[in-house]
Symmetry: C2
Subunit: 153 residues, 2 copies
Amino acid sequence: MLDVRDKRILEALQEDAGVAVADLADTIGLSVSACWRRIKALEDHGMIARRVVLLDRRKSNVATTVFVGVRTSRHSIEWLEAFRKAISDIPEIVEAYRLTGEMDYLLRLVVPNVDIYDAVYKQLISRLDFTDITSFISMEELKFTTAVPLRYA
Amino acid sequence: MLDVRDKRILEALQEDAGVAVADLADTIGLSVSACWRRIKALEDHGMIARRVVLLDRRKSNVATTVFVGVRTSRHSIEWLEAFRKAISDIPEIVEAYRLTGEMDYLLRLVVPNVDIYDAVYKQLISRLDFTDITSFISMEELKFTTAVPLRYA
DNA sequence: TGTGAAAACCTCGTAGT
DNA sequence: ACTACGAGGTTTTCACA
């Protein structure tokens, strides 16, 4: 269980990691050193995994999101290795999960448009056998956040 | 079209935003000020949208990912507004998309375990009418990155 | 674009509550 | 365990060449 103040620190840093420790300290009501020490402890414990910049998707020209549901009958080690390799090689694939239920895997891709998605799709099926592939084009992104809820932490 | 060096800067910052400008500058082969000015320009143009920390999902006790596919017949404004409200209110929902095809919406949730997911699910259906909801539990996260490809930028 | 210098900030020790 | 202070080093920021 995390301290309430640690949660507040993490909430703030999940929204904006560029804030100065001094500012963060007094929005939370902590001295700079106490705040800094907490941040450092959270980093040392690995609770804070990394600091990154998030790019504007439109300006990066990858405004289109596509979900790809994949089914396969080939559950061999070789197939899986090739699949993993493809996933890590293709930078348009930003998320990949193995699922329960009717789909085996779900991928999220970001691409400039549907035509480019088609090219990536072809690249994918040329590298691997799939029993079934279903694509879902995103028409609208209602929510995307890297901030996870801290109520369970 | 982005400059090659801007791309290199963005690639580095997408992986690690904690790097010192001086270090970044000489891995790229640029003076500190040139590098700093580029970073600032990328921020000012909004290409760099934000700086955030990413938390360890296990340590945050939200190791379980669930996808929720949603269908609805109620396409009224009121329903949509209520849906949007629910999505923004519920912090376990980290992504939400409106899709083409058989599913209307796809949500990604992060929760401690399946039991808690069930509670969130119940909360969701108590707030809104759905024609159909399908849940996919993630067994394994093969890839998750916030870094978008820059080959189209 | 580069140099350099000032300003801001981080990092952490120490002492006191 | 926190506060307050502060020194010293690093980094950011920017004027000027």
